[in-house]
Amino acid sequence: MEARLIDKIFSFLVDADGATVNKKFDLDKNVKVVHGILLSSDRPRLLFYRGSQRIEISGDEIFPEDYESKILMSGISVPPDSKFRRLGNGVVAGNGEVKIQYKDTPNSSASFVPYRVIVTLQCEMK
């Protein structure tokens, strides 16, 4: 039987230049495995040039500190199924905790204004 995939969306605001934002989100208890991740923003230029983050799912570090956000971004020209960064065979949801430590780093290619970071997880449901 084909797995049922659903996108879970979380977001947070970056409201200070050079700020570090620590966020914890809880996945639905029906989430079995996380198969992919995608980062986007209402101001993608800032996310691309300034963003980096550490991401942890259920206590397991997926991306270490200083992992640039640009690597996890995609584009509107990309087909929907190809947008997500695949996480191998998937990461077991475990206790469902997703921790993100996001760092905004000054960059002359993108002047700071408050922006929102949107994290989309492609999840397989039980």
């Binding site: 993608p44 230029r45 996310l47 691309f48 040039y49 397991d60 570090e61 991306f63 270490p64 500190e65 200083d66 992992y67 640039e68 640009k70 690597i71 971004m73 995609s74 584009g75 509107i76 020209s77 990309v78 190809s82 947008k83 191998g88 960059n107 002359s108 290619s109």
Partner: protein, 168 residues
């Protein structure tokens, strides 16, 4: 049934280039449980960098002194070539050269470096230097298999093979 898990992780190494460098070596130490290196990615960022201009190259070598397994052109990502740009179509509502529009974001290159490697040797050879910049080197590796559980085969235990009876 034996269940094992193999994880892939990433090491990020930061290199600061503050002056013209002809040759700048560095090392990336791998954890003890690394089975093989599976991917490499290099990005550059800094003030006043000209997009797509090659700032230099980074060469990677495994510590058993095998051949260089990857040479990477260091450039700042962000803008790129687009179909519209090449054929001269201008659309003020659609900036098609941006990486977050085209999806041409930095991506890992697959490598396969197995063996007893505790250190990856690398060196940066500078090409063009205008302003200080920062290089981030990402090394993706696979850990050794970890045992999760051993589950007895229940079907074989539930239905033991019946002795055959032969009538002569």
């Amino acid at each position: 049934m034996i269940s094992t898990i193999t994880k892939r992780k990433v090491i990020v190494t930061r290199i600061a280039i503050s002056k013209p460098e002809r040759f700048k070596p560095f090392e990336i130490k791998l954890p003890a449980n690394v089975k093989k290196v599976t991917g490499v990615l290099v990005t550059a960022s800094g003030s006043g960098l000209i997009n797509m201009e090659t700032l230099g190259t980074i060469s990677f070598q495994a510590n058993d002194r095998s051949d260089v397994f990857q040479i990477w052109d260091v450039q700042e990502a962000g803008l790129g070539l687009s179909d519209e740009g090449m054929i001269g179509v201008e659309d003020p509502d659609f900036d098609s050269v941006l990486a977050w529009v085209t999806g041409n974001v930095p991506k890992f290159k697959s490598v396969n470096v197995e063996g007893d490697n505790s250190i990856i040797m690398a060196w940066f050879r500078g090409a063009h230097f205008q302003n200080p910049f920062r290089i981030l080197v990402y090394l993706e590796y696979e850990e050794v298999e970890k045992l999760i559980e051993v589950v007895p085969d229940q079907e074989a235990n539930a239905k033991p093979e019946q002795p055959k009876q032969v009538y002569l």
